[in-house]
């Protein structure tokens, strides 16, 4: 094993203190102070995450799902950004109180990130092997040779054919899917505790997306790391997530297990999202029920519930009072005044569970053994 470059202790090797989770985000608020006013980009985000779990963060553009995680990683410039309230604890230690130097050890080593665009996330002037090995040299003090060997191994792990050859190639020689595999290899290089993936498959075709999702699941099984999957695609979170947080206008409006969000949702925005997605219907096509209007401006949020102006069920109180999180015994919370009203919850959309039958759109007859190399 390579020697340590310095006497810094990897936080990920430390036990999680009693009563703490791997990652705890507690009422995090981060606002941008701009000429045009205060942009409430992250407004009261709370969740917990444990090893081996996958958290899906769902929301539309401008909902704050990416900014929240940039904030957690300390990647937001302050100013204009400013932490207004709340805390982020990783293995019981506050990330917000850490120095920039300490955060640099966390980034890439304990918590790694994958970005949406594999085209711009790789530096075009360096060979792939060097880029994949960089984290190891930085955090683990590997020699050049050791880093390259490990990089080759990592590329093989993420399913890149003939990695001995490919480590010496440049990013432009890789396809989009292959580059995203390289990004995953880079992120996993230091065996991180948490992998934050920001729309990692949005720029990719569906067949390639399927490969990448499979790869991420496989790697998680092997390494036991937690994944935070930031996406606008409910399909992707249904595929991967154990827990889901739905964000709207900088706030988490609902948080729960995947089953709770998909089958027992308690927030009309989640309902709206589900109803907006065209179903793979096999009998009759039902018209979509879109959410009316546009998301609100983060500078000038409507009073009361931010979703109220678009909510088909909004009543007076919704426009006047900002809803608290109503939490169930299982920790499923919803920022809706009526989340615990059983009569109100009858408006929730039909789900495959409530109907008891679903179409898969996928024939049984094709032998899965014939499916070629799985990812």
């Amino acid at each position: 094993m390579a020697k340590k470059k310095n006497d810094y202790v990897d936080l990920k090797t430390q036990p999680i203190p009693e009563g703490h989770h791997l990652l705890e985000v507690d009422n995090l608020k981060m606002f941008f102070h701009t000429e045009d006013g205060v942009v409430k980009a992250v407004n009261g985000v709370s969740y917990t995450l444990d090893r081996g779990e996958t958290l899906g963060v769902v929301g539309e553009s401008g909902s704050g799902k990416s900014v929240t995680h940039m904030t957690i990683m300390g990647l937001i410039d302050m100013p204009p950004g400013k932490i207004e309230e709340g805390d982020v604890r990783y293995r019981g230690r506050s990330l917000l109180e850490m120095s920039e130097q300490e955060m640099q050890h966390i980034r890439g080593n304990d918590i790694a990130m994958i970005f949406q665009d594999p085209m711009t996330s790789l530096n075009p002037v360096y060979k792939i092997g060097r880029q994949v090995g960089e984290g190891l040299r930085l955090h683990r003090g590997y020699s050049k040779k050791e880093a390259l060997e490990r990089a080759t191994e990592l590329l093989r792990l993420v399913g890149i054919p003939s990695p001995e050859k490919r480590v010496n190639e440049y990013p432009h020689q890789f396809s989009g899917g292959m580059r995203q595999r390289v990004m995953i290899a880079m992120a996993l290089a230091c065996d991180p505790d948490i992998l934050i993936a920001d729309e990692p498959t949005t720029a990719l075709d569906v067949t390639i997306q399927a490969q990448i999702i499979e790869l991420m699941k496989e790697m998680q099984e092997k390494n036991g790391n937690a994944i935070i999957m930031i996406t606008h695609d409910l399909g992707v979170v249904a595929d991967m997530a154990d827990k889901i947080m739905v964000m709207y206008a900088g706030r988490p409006v609902e948080f729960g297990t995947a089953d709770e969000i998909f089958y027992e949702s308690r927030h009309p925005y989640t309902w709206g999202l589900i109803r907006s997605i065209p179903e793979q219907a096999i009998d009759e096509k039902k018209p979509l029920t879109p959410i009316h209007g546009n998301p609100p401006s983060l500078v000038n949020l409507p009073s009361g519930c931010p979703f109220a102006p678009r909510c088909p069920y909004a009543v007076d109180i919704c426009h006047q009072k900002e809803p608290e999180h109503i939490v169930t015994e299982t920790g499923h919370y919803s920022a809706c005044h009526f989340a615990d009203d059983p009569e109100f919850l009858k408006f929730a959309p039909d789900t495959s569970r409530s109907r008891g039958k679903i179409a898969t759109g996928m024939p049984d007859t094709l032998d899965p053994d014939l499916t070629g190399g799985e990812a």
């Binding site: 539309e60 553009s61 292959m178 075709d205 569906v206 067949t207 390639i208 997306q209 399927a210 490969q211 999702i213 499979e214 606008h232 695609d233 409910l234 399909g235 992707v236 249904a238 595929d239 995947a258 998909f262 709206g272 999202l273 589900i274 109803r275 907006s276 997605i277 065209p278 179903e279 793979q280 219907a281 096999i282 096509k285 018209p287 979509l288 029920t289 879109p290 959410i291 546009n294 998301p295 789900t351 495959s352 569970r353 008891g356 679903i358 179409a359 898969t360 759109g361 996928m362 024939p363 049984d364 007859t365 094709l366 899965p368 014939l370 499916t371 070629g372 190399g373 799985e374 990812a375």
Partner: protein, 341 residues
């Protein structure tokens, strides 16, 4: 909805489009290497129907749309609009044809001239074709804005003052200004958020019901295409591999590519997602510069046989109105499936 007894509105026959693989003055002119973006495809669109064209990036679906509109000139083949060959049209006939055929673009930001007001943008087709007086055109624009769900009072505003979904509505209003018979929609919702996507899809559906317009709906998102289309064609690497009505395509897909595409789309339902069988295609789509011999899909196909790399499969009718280009389709009879919970 599709009445195949009628004359087709649009008939595409053996359409091919090649681009030089190298660009630039010298290399572009003398190089023999070409990108075969679209290769020998044929289909028809009937009045009032929505024909979906689905495939992954680089499969040639957008090039097909642009060739039909003659925004780019096809290398070979014919496009007949109401029986007339688009490629043979002189500029006057072309202009008349473009009155009947309009385009909705993917990027609502780039498809609206930032220096024109909404009123100018939506009335431009009427100005070009000399329809109505100025007052009549303004009246029509206000009507159109109202129909697509925008405030007619905003007629003097500029595109940058609107959100993405609103801009796409403006693009749709412009496409409908001349009440065309066919609108080519090139990825009209893929740049939009889910909730806005649904708004625009519903709008397109409503307008079609109202005006009886036919759509060529080009998209990469299968669930969107299924939702809006009457018939669907699946493209892979410049070829159409399967055509059928939407229901058959999604319940009895014949072509292994269609099957894998369907199985790769994540379903927003954890129970389904966890239990269904999935085909994960290995590797990346090959380059269209040097497409594989025989069936272009054989390099990634899970059921490829020897014949697939040698012979190009033709589109064959496997059931009435259901065409598939696969040597092995008959070997793999498919039945409808659903999971009981």
């Amino acid at each position: 909805m599709t009445d195949t007894t009628k004359e087709p509105l649009l008939k595409v026959e053996h359409l091919s489009k090649e681009f030089p693989a190298e660009s630039g003055m010298i290399a572009g002119r003398f190089s023999k290497r070409v990108v075969s973006a679209v290769k020998d495809i044929s289909f028809e669109i009937y009045p009032g129907e929505t024909f979906g064209l689905v495939g992954e990036s680089g499969c040639g679906k957008s090039t097909t749309g642009r060739s039909i509109m003659r925004l780019t000139n096809p290398t070979a083949g014919h496009v007949y609009f109401e029986g007339k060959d688009v490629a043979q049209m002189n500029s006057k006939e072309l202009k008349a044809m473009r009155r009947e055929m309009q385009f909705v673009f993917q990027d609502p930001q780039a498809s609206l001239n930032p220096r024109m007001t909404i009123g100018e943008i939506v009335s431009e087709p009427m100005v070009i074709h000399g329809i109505g007086t100025k007052e009549e055109r303004i009246e029509r624009v206000r009507e159109l804005l109202d129909v697509v769900g925008l405030n007619p009072e905003h007629i003097n505003r500029y595109p940058h003052e609107f959100s993405g979904g609103q801009r796409q509505r403006i693009g749709i209003a412009r496409a409908f200004a001349l009440r065309p018979k066919l609108i080519i929609c090139d990825e009209p919702v893929s740049a939009l958020d889910v909730s806005i996507q649904a708004q625009v899809l519903n709008l397109l559906k409503d307008l079609q019901d109202h005006f009886g317009t036919a759509y060529l709906f080009i998209a990469h998102d299968l669930s969107v295409v299924q939702h809006i289309s009457d018939r669907v064609a699946v493209m892979y690497l410049g070829k159409i591999v399967e055509i059928s009505d939407w229901k058959t395509l999604y319940t009895e897909p014949h072509h292994p590519y269609t099957q894998s595409l369907l199985s790769a789309v994540p379903v927003p339902d954890p129970d389904v997602q966890k239990t269904r069988k999935r085909i994960i295609l290995p590797g990346d789509p090959p380059s269209p510069i040097d497409p594989p011999s025989g069936c272009r899909f054989h390099t990634r196909c899970p059921i490829a046989q020897a014949v697939c790399s040698e012979e190009q499969p033709e589109l064959r009718e496997v059931a009435p109105g259901h065409f598939c280009a696969c040597h092995c389709a008959a070997v793999n009879p498919i039945k409808e499936t659903s999971i009981e919970l």
